[in-house]
């Protein structure tokens, strides 16, 4: 994306234990009446890092994101943000402490304008951006021209950008992107890649990306983590992931 840079996040005082990862999930277990969606999954995300979360369908990626955002509660394990235990915190509480997300199926307020959607996002975090920053965000995500449009009238690709803008408005420390490239064309996906890079480098927040587009995930991630049947089966460099027999087997097995 060639537009203006994403406004930088304000400086934050480092939390307790600065070398500790920003977000750490330890031994997460989540069961849905008999089905174990997460089976002791771990996750660590540092500030300024892009972590790709991949795995076959039904491997627990979205469940893990839902557990981090607070849409679901884990049955066992622990979630810490900046050293603070948020395992039992409400969704609103987590949003306030700096976790923002986008959704696999867009969850925008369709009857509100683009600017209003972003303004609502502003509410989400206690370290919320100022109104000028909202305008800056709209500019950098090329949403200025449609700022007064009702969201449901816009194209899918634009709505994706609105959702990211809304998530960024709360000035999050952790940004969870659940299939951000779903429904986007190649050009839009390329723009998204650049946007994620900008968010990481200029706002310094930790970004967790789930997507089926391997080119996107492997291309933008500093590190990837592969989930299979609710367990982490690989964690490390993106290029190495598909050299692992377990990872290949998980994907082939799922075909």
């Amino acid at each position: 994306m060639s537009a203006a840079p994403v406004p930088a996040s304000r400086t934050r005082s480092p939390g307790p234990g600065t070398d500790a990862p920003l977000l750490r999930v330890t031994g997460a277990v989540k069961r849905f009446s008999g089905l174990t969606a997460l089976d002791g999954a771990d996750l660590a995300l540092a500030a300024g890092e892009v972590l790709g979360l991949i795995g076959p369908n039904g491997s627990g990626k979205t469940t893990l994101v839902n557990c981090v955002s607070g849409a679901l509660r884990i049955d066992e394990g622990e979630i810490r943000l900046g050293g603070r235990d948020i395992t039992r915190a409400s969704r609103a509480r987590r949003a306030k402490s700096g976790i923002a997300r986008t959704f696999q199926n867009l969850k925008l307020f369709g009857e509100l304008t683009v600017r209003e959607n972003v303004l609502v996002g502003l509410n989400a975090s206690s370290g919320a951006s100022s109104l000028e920053e909202v305008e800056g965000l709209l500019r950098s995500l090329r949403l200025e021209e449609v700022a007064r449009e009702i969201v449901s009238t816009l194209s899918y690709g634009t709505q994706r950008r609105v959702e990211i803008a809304r998530a960024l408005a709360g000035d999050p420390r952790v940004l969870l992107l659940d299939e951000p490239a779903a429904g986007l064309n190649d050009g839009e996906t390329a723009e998204l890649k650049e946007l994620i890079h900008e968010i990481r480098s200029e706002r310094g927040c930790g970004v967790l990306v789930i997507d089926h587009d391997m080119n996107l995930v492997l291309g933008i991630s500093d590190r990837v983590q592969v989930l299979d049947e609710g367990k982490v089966i690989y964690e490390g460099a993106p290029q190495e992931a598909f050299k692992q027999p377990r990872v290949v087997a998980a994907y082939l097995g799922a075909e």
């Binding site: 955002s69 609103a92 969850k107 009857e111 209003e116 959607n117 609502v120 509410n123 989400a124």
Partner: protein
């Protein structure tokens, strides 16, 4: 021609009263899916408050804001005590709760004020008539239309020009996503009750200034009219509620004009028949969309 203008003014005045009633009722509905059948009691209590204050010798200019404040506070208390604990509860629970609140507040009114009508003495200027070019326009009619326009403008500004308005519409559209955004639906609900109460305070004064007296059972007609207006306009939409209110006022006044004098007794029944016919033609209400919300 003069007669037509007179009818249009009548329709506008009745219509803006209904539009305000509908606005107050639909606001809480949009946030909580609650049709608050105790809504008319807010008007009744506002009416009684006005009677008491006027009889105590307070100037009307002071009675108006005090009444609006009183009804706003009452609405917030009602929302906090009776409805907030039931956020997310099935609609039938909310419905039964609202009937419970209706009965309790009505019987308190009966205990305090008795069943007999209590006269609301409005200042002389309100009962006056402005004569201009063959037209004879009651002052109260002008005040009603002006208040309607003012409240609607303020309401629109609040809903579409302030962050709170965006929060409220977000919470109304999707409470779950709003919660993810850190919006607290319970807080939004309380503010919705406050605004709804303020509107009820204004419209209650207009209503009883016109009717002239308050009884504990005066709530039925305004609640019913508000309910019809929001169904007619399209449930859950504020613009629909206003449209429905104006349309209902228009239909009523038209019926009073066109019906032969022998049929005037049945005017209300015929009005309802027209409303039903309109809903058969447009099940989603006049504002169209959201048929599924009904």
């Amino acid at each position: 021609m003069t007669a037509l203008v007179q009818h249009v003014l009548d329709a506008l005045s009745v219509g803006s009263t209904y539009a305000l009633l509908a606005l107050g009722l639909t606001l809480v509905f949009s946030v909580m899916n609650l049709i608050n059948f105790a809504y008319g009691l807010l008007l009744v209590w506002g009416g009684y408050a006005a009677c008491v204050l006027v009889d105590a010798g307070l100037p009307f200019a002071l009675v108006v804001p005090l009444c609006v404040l009183f009804v706003t506070a009452l609405s917030v208390v009602m929302g906090r005590v009776a409805f907030r604990p039931f956020i997310g509860a099935p609609q039938i629970t909310l419905l039964i709760t609202s009937f419970g609140v209706l009965l309790i507040t009505q019987y308190i009114a009966i205990l305090v004020f008795g069943e007999k009508p209590r006269v609301l003495n409005t200042p002389d200027f309100l009962t006056g008539v402005i004569a201009a070019g063959g037209l004879r326009v009651p002052v109260l009619q002008v005040v009603t239309i002006a208040s309607g326009a003012l409240v609607v403008a303020a309401f629109y500004g609040l809903l579409h020009r302030t962050p709170f308005g965006a929060h409220l519409r977000a919470a109304a559209e999707s409470p779950e996503t709003a919660r993810l955004m850190g919006i607290r639906p319970d807080r939004v609900l309380m503010i919705a009750f406050a605004i709804s109460g303020a509107i009820a305070g204004v419209v209650g004064l207009l209503w009883f200034a016109k009717v002239g007296a308050v009884t504990p059972r005066s709530d039925m007609e305004p609640t019913l009219k508000a309910f019809i207006a929001i169904v007619l306009g399209g449930l859950g939409r504020t613009s629909g509620a206003m449209l429905g209110g104006l349309a209902l006022g228009g239909i009523e006044v038209t019926m009073n004009v066109v019906l032969p004098s022998g049929a005037i007794t049945y005017a209300q029944a015929i009005v309802f028949a027209v409303v039903i016919a309109l809903l058969v033609l447009r099940p989603g209400g006049l504002s169209g969309a959201r048929t599924e919300a009904a």
